[in-house]
């Protein structure tokens, strides 16, 4: 047992090395110095403000990952998570718009709007789930199509019915008055509430998958659909429910993007956290607790790469390249380990 763990760590370190090696070659190809770039990317994280910025993107990323761990457990590739975040943000914005002139308590309105975001996310996920269950449309394609639709809907709202006074612009809808923003830490852009929601989300998923009968049966559905069905597990209901839960968690991520980060709806409100969450979920391989540091690391790469266009005139998509290579080589290393390690 001990030996296997050591073995695995060895292969993963090797994968890490390879990923950074190839990423360095990519940097050399555009004439940049890898050492300098890595130093700038990670060195900029030294200040309190930067760590807070990383946590700002860590919270929604972790929520999306938490949701995806549920659908992964059910054996589903919920690529539609990106659209579920977006639709969650739309739901939150809708409720804030409807209630912002009411006499209701602002805190209550925020809570309602976050709840609406979760509901909207679940709704969008249910659509992908229904297409899969009743229409035979693979969730990869259904989800992907719905992602594009959700983005188009956002752009339509930002430039159409919800445009800011005057002309609509890519910078989004009119920001909500301050009382509808989640409170921030003094001098930082980070809201403690966002952290709370994210931690509650991942802990919930941890216990759901590790400690409940539901989680066990869900994993049975994911491991062997047919066997689970024959054992009497209501398979399609379980799959549908995992879609709903994932949608609600990613909807919460979208709600945070509106209430804690942007304070309005912007066209790219999901910020790619859904796709990134898929990568994190693949990397941690069902281990909900491991998602906490891995999501932090990926968020740090994102924040670190923001500097690249300004300082080095390089595209910030470098973080995506590095993240992708890391996941790819970890997957390959796991395959190589299984192949090369003699079976006991």
């Amino acid at each position: 047992m001990k030996h296997t763990t050591l073995n695995r760590i060895g292969f993963q370190l090797f994968a890490l090395l390879l990923a950074f090696g190839i990423a360095s070659l990519v940097l050399l190809a555009v004439g940049a110095s890898p050492v300098q770039i890595y130093k700038d990317m990670f060195g900029s994280l030294g200040t309190k403000g930067k760590i807070a910025d990383v946590l700002v993107s860590w919270a929604p990323l972790l929520l999306a990952t938490a949701g995806l761990l549920i659908t992964f457990a059910a054996g589903l590739w919920n690529i539609g998570v990106e659209g579920q975040i977006t639709f969650g943000a739309i739901g939150t914005t809708l409720v804030l718009r409807l209630l912002q002139n009411s006499a209701m308590n602002a805190g209550l309105i925020i809570a309602l709007s976050i709840f609406a975001g979760m509901l909207a996310g679940a709704l969008w996920a249910a659509l992908a789930g229904a297409l899969k269950t009743f229409g035979g449309v693979n969730e990869i394609f259904g989800g992907l199509g719905l992602n594009f639709v959700a983005t188009a809907l956002t752009i339509y709202l930002v430039f159409g019915p919800w445009k800011r006074p005057g002309t609509g612009s890519m910078s989004g809808t009119q920001p909500f008055p301050e009382q509808f923003n989640l409170p921030l830490f003094e001098g930082l852009r980070l809201s403690p509430w966002a952290l709370v929601v994210a931690v509650v989300g991942i802990v919930f998923v941890y216990f759901l998958l590790q400690g409940t009968y539901f989680g066990l049966r869900l994993k049975a559905v994911g491991k062997n659909f047919r066997a689970a069905y024959l054992l009497g597990i209501p398979t399609w209901q379980y799959m549908m429910f995992s879609f709903l839960l994932c949608g609600a968690l990613s909807g919460a991520a979208g709600a945070l993007q509106v209430t804690a980060v942007y304070h309005r709806l912007i066209p790219s409100i999901s910020s790619g956290y859904g796709y990134l969450g898929l990568m994190v979920a693949m990397l941690v391989n069902y281990q909900a607790i491991a998602a906490i540091p891995v999501a932090f690391f990926f968020a740090a790469l994102n924040i670190g790469s923001i500097q690249l266009p300004i300082v080095h005139k390089l595209d910030s998509s470098f973080s995506g390249v590095l993240q992708g290579l890391l996941v790819l080589f970890i997957l390959l290393a796991e395959g190589a380990r299984q192949r090369l390690t003699p079976k006991a």
Partner: protein, 332 residues
């Protein structure tokens, strides 16, 4: 005059659909062998960028197309290696590659954004282009579009009319039987995945050196094509002819969208831009609905006359994947 315009328009549909045709045929070949190459959306972006940059630097269009094919082959090789040799999930690796290749394309192509570069010249085929109606539609194109026509028929002939093609079907349907018949299943899967990748890789330069010359990063209008191509592969029932038909249908709808846009001022342009995606879902829905359990149950409960009608309609639409698509092959 009107007819001339329509003919030119139809010709442009075949021209603009060439990238999708390459992608669909490449994917069809790989999936026929039993391997899903989910990376093609990102891979096409990378090959479009790579093909353009190499052409821009060397001045050689041929080098650009070759680069595109090589990138496609290389990415497909990674998919094949990780799924066949390392037994990792094809979906996982393909998806990661789709994202990584896309970011890599944007990162490496950053310096070449919006630069004017080489473009494949139009080439009217002698004699053929003078045929009325057919000429203006099919033979006022450029070389890569003619190659796309040729590729449709060649791949169809290969899969359905040759012995090795029969073996190709075999390794995707019943690999164990093919193995008993002497086929080296895994080696053949490698070969067809890489070949399919190379063909799909031509989609990139076919776009960046022909349809819409140049590299424009995130606004190239190319992102999403690969996913559509994957859906069309399913719609096409893993048959190059039906797949090409799907690709052209898609191209026609896109063209109609462009043509009709001025007369539909109430429909925001964003809606028309994403119209392919709900359409993709709808198509997959129609193709797959006949295979779902509840429809079968509903049909069974119907009166004879209407059941026959619905069964026939659904069967005409239905497309069944190769039986071992995505399933690794192991000798017992």
């Amino acid at each position: 005059m009107e007819t001339a315009l329509i003919l030119t328009g139809l010709g442009s549909v075949f021209f603009a659909s060439a990238p999708i045709v390459f992608a669909v045929i490449g994917e069809t070949i790989a999936e026929r062998a039993g391997v899903i190459n989910l990376s093609i959306n990102g891979m096409i972006l990378l090959s479009a960028m790579g093909g353009f940059v190499v052409s821009f630097q060397t001045g050689s269009l041929f080098a650009g197309f070759l680069t595109g094919a090589l990138i496609g082959a290389l990415v497909a090789f990674i998919v094949a290696f990780s799924s066949i040799t390392l037994k990792q999930s094809q979906v996982a690796v393909g998806f990661v590659l789709a994202l990584t290749c896309r970011d890599l394309a944007y990162f490496l192509g950053n310096d070449y954004m919006g630069k004017g570069g080489p473009r494949l010249p139009a080439w009217d085929l002698p004699v053929l282009s003078d045929i009325p109606i057919v000429g203006p539609i099919f033979f006022h194109q450029d070389l890569i579009t003619y190659i796309s026509f040729l590729m449709i028929f060649l791949s169809w002939l290969w899969i359905f009319r040759t012995r090795p093609g029969l073996m190709l079907q075999g390794i995707g349907e019943r690999p164990a039987s093919a193995y008993v018949r002497g086929a080296n299943v895994n080696l053949m899967r490698y070969a067809y995945t890489v070949l399919g990748g190379a063909i799909a890789g031509l989609a990139g330069p076919a776009y960046s050196l022909s349809v819409k010359a140049g590299w424009n990063g995130t606004i190239s209008g190319l992102d999403g094509f690969g996913w559509i191509a994957l859906a069309i592969t399913i719609f096409g029932g893993w048959n190059p002819l039906r797949g090409a038909f799907g690709a052209y249908l898609f191209g026609l709808l896109q063209w109609l969208g462009l043509v009709l846009q001025p007369s539909l001022p109430n429909v925001p342009s964003q809606v028309l831009q994403v119209a392919p995606f709900p359409l993709m879902i709808l198509t997959l829905f129609l193709v797959n609905i006949g295979s779902t359990e509840w429809v079968e149950r509903t049909l069974a409960a119907m009166p004879e006359s209407s059941r026959r009608f619905f069964t026939r309609a659904l069967r005409a639409l239905r497309a069944s994947p190769p039986a071992s698509l995505g399933v690794p092959f192991e000798r017992e």
